[in-house]
């Protein structure tokens, strides 16, 4: 498989915004590295899907959204939740299954939810969030609200009927929704070209009359600029599909022996890593010093330590509450 050249750096952002995006990516990275460690230690159980390598997507996109917007994500959503504004404490406590978690401990890694930031999960059925996003956008349209719905999903979802039905509904009803397709090239272990007759994802969406954009998902500045355009388009004109070309550096989940891809391919993609390439670029552009970088990194690490302490100190929901949250109490 051919790995694209390093991020072009064509988009240059103001220094303050650049540093904020870098800090965002570092927060996800440090949090998830700790999650992997905690998984090994048995503190986090179940499935754990790390986003490491793909941070530029969530970072670039989240800062393009407004507070009133809706966000729908998948089971690989720790970074999205964090940058949407869910506290790292609440995310970490959720990973532990503690009742102080953002879903009260009921969801775990794959089901992060937060009403306050309009974060609608955390959907672990591939493609399951796409119709939901169309419906949220329909509600906004019918109520003449300004909000846009941003829906994140992997390229594996384009094989699902839910993708096709949702693209059609979104375009047919001109819904204010931006579909962000994180193309990391593998649906679990199945490479895109082994599962799709048409591997041009934008062509699929365009066939429904959707506007489309394609961007290097390893370049946070380019993602941010593209996401801003996508949000504006969704708000003013209608649905849009954005393909973000990215790569997952870690296994699909903690159970994956990675038999389906070459180590060399992974190493080559790592040379395109969103954090170190952006760091180097900002340094070259004199927007960042090593000292400042270390400060940002230290802040991220401190936030992680605090979140772990919060989760450790969290409490288990009493078994007497087991049947809560099934239906609304009368």
């Amino acid at each position: 498989m051919k790995v694209p050249p390093p991020p072009s750096g064509r988009v240059k952002l103001p220094a303050e915004l650049s540093l904020a995006l870098l800090a965002d990516m570092l927060r996800i990275r440090r949090m998830e590295e700790k999650c992997a460690e905690l998984y090994g230690a048995g503190k986090i159980r179940g499935f754990l899907h790390l986003y490491i390598g793909e941070e530029a997507v969530a970072a670039g996109a989240m800062r393009a959204l407004e507070k009133e917007d809706n966000v729908v994500a998948t089971y690989r959503e720790h970074g999205h939740a964090l940058l949407r504004g869910v506290s790292m404490d609440a995310i970490m406590a959720e990973m532990y299954g503690k009742q102080e978690g953002c879903s009260g401990g009921r969801g775990g890694s794959m089901h992060l939810f937060d009403a306050a930031t309009r974060f609608y999960g955390g959907n672990a059925i591939v493609g399951g969030g796409l119709p939901l996003a169309a419906g949220l956008a329909l509600a906004a349209k019918l109520q003449i609200e300004k909000r846009v719905t941003a829906c994140f999903f992997g390229e594996g979802a384009v094989a699902e009927g839910a993708f096709h039905e949702s693209m059609n509904l979104a375009a047919l009803w001109t819904l204010p929704v931006a579909y962000f397709c994180e193309n990391n090239l593998y649906a679990m272990g199945t490479a895109l070209e082994r599962s799709e007759s048409q591997t041009d994802l934008c062509a699929k969406a365009a066939s429904y009359g959707m506007a489309t954009l394609k961007v290097d998902g390893m370049d946070v500045a380019a993602v941010h600029e593209t996401a801003q355009r996508a949000r504006e388009y969704a708000a003013k004109k209608g649905p849009i599909f954005v393909e973000l070309q990215t790569y997952r550096f870690r296994a699909h989940s903690m159970f994956d022996p990675e038999l389906y891809r070459d180590k060399a391919e992974i190493e080559q993609w790592k040379t395109r890593g969103p954090i170190h390439t952006f760091t180097a670029r900002l340094k070259a552009q004199k927007q960042l010093t090593e000292e400042r970088f270390l400060e940002l990194d230290a802040a991220a690490q401190a936030e992680v330590e605090k979140a772990v302490a919060f989760a450790e100190a969290g409490t288990w929901e009493p078994i007497a509450d087991l049947t809560k949250h099934v239906i609304t109490p009368a």
């Binding site: 969801g107 939810f113 959907n123 419906g135 329909l138 509600a139 906004a140 039905e165 059609n168 949250h325």
Partner: protein, 317 residues
């Protein structure tokens, strides 16, 4: 009070819901221009316009999921799926999202969605349009299952379902569409089962399209007939009260016998009313065969008054 049909009652309920609450809209296949597969929504497009009586593509998964999203976004959608068989195309959204969202989010998000669909046999529509799968859905925590069997309930249950903060699946019975009855338009609950006929010899427990059949059989055997009305959560208190008097029960269920709703009712009665019984609980269900097309075979596959009477007689040895 004048008599109206079950179909007209359903239509009045939709009309009232749309008139009363701007957040309510109806969406589904052929609900608008066509007037509804069973003409339930006829005339509503003209009255409320295409935004609120919304025709959809043939995308059960897509528009059911969109209904969930719209409910989360502040609307009160009524999604119509033509038949329960087609609802299987939307099963993922109903079971994996609508039913689970409240729980997965630790109680933060509830889904005030109503999904209506027709169910059951009796019109020679053969195997893919006649099954009675509401018992399946009653297996799932997080959704309510309601089954109007009377004109009064056909008129009143929609409003109760819309007022509910959680997803409600409302099953409509084409076999009953021409049934006439009184509909006061008064509020009805979606929490209780009801005695539809008093009797002394046996308790017949049923719901939906089988209610008229159970009532007919009850005339012959002096049966007390209880209409479950709500299949999840089940309210068996009136059944247990009745059993204390009759000491015998036959459950009549249009679903298949194996693993069906009747089995659940029987299990609960054996848990909760064992010592009130003078005979094992019996059931009359559909035969274990996909629905055949010819009328005589369809009738043979379904519960019928004669089968119910025979089952009752079997309890008296």
């Amino acid at each position: 009070m004048s008599l109206i049909t079950y179909r007209e009652a359903l239509r009045q309920a939709l009309d009232e819901a749309l008139a009363k609450d701007e957040r309510v809209f109806l969406m589904g296949e052929d609900v608008g221009k066509y007037g509804g597969t069973y003409a339930v929504s006829k005339g509503l497009l003209e009255k409320y316009g295409p935004e609120r009586v919304r025709d959809t593509p043939l995308s059960e998964l897509g528009f059911t999921g969109a209904g969930i999203g719209a409910a989360l976004g502040g609307m009160r959608p009524i999604v119509e799926v033509m038949t329960v068989n087609f609802s299987l195309l939307a099963l993922d959204q109903i079971v994996n999202t609508a039913a689970l969202l409240r729980h997965m989010s630790g109680g933060q998000f509830s889904v005030p969605l109503v999904v209506r669909m027709s169910t059951g046999a009796g019109r020679q529509l053969a195997a893919q349009h006649s099954h009675s799968l509401e018992g399946w859905y009653a297996h799932i925590p997080g959704i309510k299952i309601v089954a109007p069997a009377t004109v009064e309930d056909a008129r009143g249950m929609l409003a109760a379902a819309l007022a509910d903060p959680d997803p409600v699946l409302l099953f409509e019975y084409p076999a009953l569409f021409e049934t006439k009855g009184e509909a006061s338009g008064e509020k009805v609950d979606i929490a209780s089962s009801k005695v539809r006929r008093t009797g002394s010899k046996v308790t017949l427990v049923t719901y939906g399209g089988c209610l008229p059949k159970a009532l007919k059989a009850a005339e012959v055997v002096d049966g007390e007939v209880i209409d479950l009305r709500v299949l999840r959560p089940l309210d068996l208190a009136p059944v247990i009260e009745s059993v204390k008097k009759t000491r015998r029960v036959v459950v009549v269920d249009e679903g298949w016998r194996s693993g069906g709703l009747a089995a659940e009712v029987m299990a609960r009665l054996s848990e909760q009313a064992f010592y009130e019984l003078d005979a094992p609980v019996a059931r009359v269900c559909s035969e274990e065969v996909p629905m055949p097309y010819p009328k005589h075979l369809e009738e043979a596959a379904l519960p019928q008054p004669e089968k119910i009477v025979a089952a009752v007689k079997g309890l008296f040895g």
